[in-house]
């Protein structure tokens, strides 16, 4: 199961894939929504861990784009803005524990 992490913050791109690998997933990181859309990972990603606010295409815009393409990749949003966590979707507010990430990814995969 490949989990793709899309975040413009370099430290997130470094640390999250490592954690996900420790949790038993395959993981790949992308610096922008555009980079992810152009990658081969698009077709094989089982779950997307996606930053909400990014320069260029935001996480929300990527979600919309994926819906337009009728992609059913489940998404776990992550954000450093606490108030965005109130969105009615799977969203983790940074910082989050490894268990919370595991639960969210599992839930996202179940919903698929």
């Amino acid at each position: 199961m490949l989990i793709s992490v899309v975040d413009d913050d370099e430290s997130v791109r470094e640390s999250l894939p490592d954690l996900l690998r420790e949790l038993g997933f395959e993981a790949e990181a992308f610096a922008s929504a555009e980079e992810f859309l152009e990658s081969r990972a698009l077709s094989v990603t089982g779950c997307l861990v996606l930053d909400v606010a990014m320069p260029g295409m935001s996480g929300i815009a990527l979600q919309r784009e994926l819906r337009n393409r009728e992609s059913e990749i489940p998404i776990v949003f992550i954000t450093a803005y606490s108030d965005e966590a109130t969105r009615p979707t799977l969203c983790l507010t940074k910082p989050f524990s490894d268990q919370a990430l595991l639960d969210a990814v599992s839930l996202a995969l179940e919903r698929r």
């Binding site: 997130v12 640390s15 954690l19 320069p55 450093a80 910082p95 989050f96 490894d98």
Partner: protein, 549 residues
Amino acid sequence: MQSIAIDDLKLAEALLAGERRLLEMVATGEPLADVLHALCNIAEATGSGVHCSILLIDSDAKFHFGAGPSVPPGYAKAVEDVPVMPEVGPCGMAASLKRQVVVDDLVADPRWQPLPWHAAAVKFGLRSACSTPILARSGEVLGTFAMYYEQPGSPSPIDQTIIQQFTHIASIAIERAQREAALKRSEAFLAEAQRLSSTGSFLWRVSTGEMTWSEETYRIFEFEPETRVTLELISSRYHPDDLPLFYEWVGRASREARDLEAEPRLRMGDGSIKYVHTLAHATRNERGELEYIGAVQDVTERRRSEDALNKVRSELAHVARVTTLGALTASIAHEVNQPLSGIVTNASTSLRMLADDPPNIEGARETARRTIRDANRASEVIARLRALFGKKALAMECVDLNEAIREVVALAASEFQRDRVAIRSELATDLPSTQGDRVQLQQVVLNLLRNARDAMADSDAGPRQVVIKTACDDGGVRLTVIDSGVGIDSLDRLFDAFYTTKSNGMGIGLWVSRSIIESHRGRIWAERNDGPGTTFGLWLPRVECSSQS
């Protein structure tokens, strides 16, 4: 007493012609002195040995010489500023008593013998006199009309007719001159009041399009005085955005009598904007035609102060809004949550790597290292916030801006190299020194350089290069930082607190930069480049520094 050289008819004709000429002079507004002089000439021509004079009385009840073409030399000077009293002579008596005074024998009359003018008059050959007050319609004495004769005796009935008619004409001429002077004074007063209050007046006769402007209205609109005013001319001064209102009002005002109050903008020849408060009152003239009488007041200065005040008010409101706890904590939370997230993730990973079988020691070490890095990042955020809200006093010293820049560039070199951004310095060699807090100014320079670098982070257009320039400018020093980055859509809000165009920015840097520069009595600004990117500029006043600082 007077031998009549011409018959009555001829005299009557001559008098009529003379009167007509005098009235014509009055009507055409010739100077009063000329009219009175002509009047005396005509009166003197009615007989031989006749000498006329006209004295005027001012508001201080003193005589002033009006006219007297053939009076004795020194006469004009002698009467000047003499008080109007019966004792001073026949004219003083006539004016005081408001009735004609006849002196039939000037030589023998004991009343005047002791007076200085008497001897001169007798020596000149004058033997009798008749002074008649010139009365205004209100009954007020305007002056005296005197006829002196070279023969003793009283005026004949013909003389009396002449005196009566000529005092009447003199009265008309004097009253008219006085009214004109009063009008001129009042006009000058009004013009001065208009100038002082920047208020002009106008009259618009709708049916003919005729427009009359006061001097000040011309000045406000910056048209040459006397320019023929038309609606087209006025509309050429209107700000394009206010033109529809102008046409609407003109249209409505021509159809129905309606008062107007508006504050349109004018755009002057040099592109500057004026606000003119305009009031117009609809009225009908004697023929029932619709007219507007109005006033225009240049309120630009007032508007400017109001605008400045509003700006300060809204900035205050903005500061109050953003410094409320909610907005502040949201920004701080974002900045702090990023590294905290890294700490938790890395620490979790590290623990899990150690728990692996066999333990992934190298991986755990690497993630532990990242944990430390993220913790440092969090503490940097806190340090920045403390610097921001700590409000340290400025440490003013003499600053060589070029040198300060060189230090910053050296400091930032490695970090910029890593991001493959080159810094090109173009520093003026003759830059004057300025005074300021060196560290704070360097913070501003570093902030501008970092912004420029960030703007080019995603840019693939050409080499990534930041140009930093200094120059002498307008009595101070100017620094510009030019990038060729993505550019900024909205420049106006750039310096607002918590406004950012970066996904991970706090919107603090430029806000703080501006407050630093403004506390140095300088300016900071941003402008779009002709090509890609943005130029940030700042200006600081030049300060002469003593050598010990």
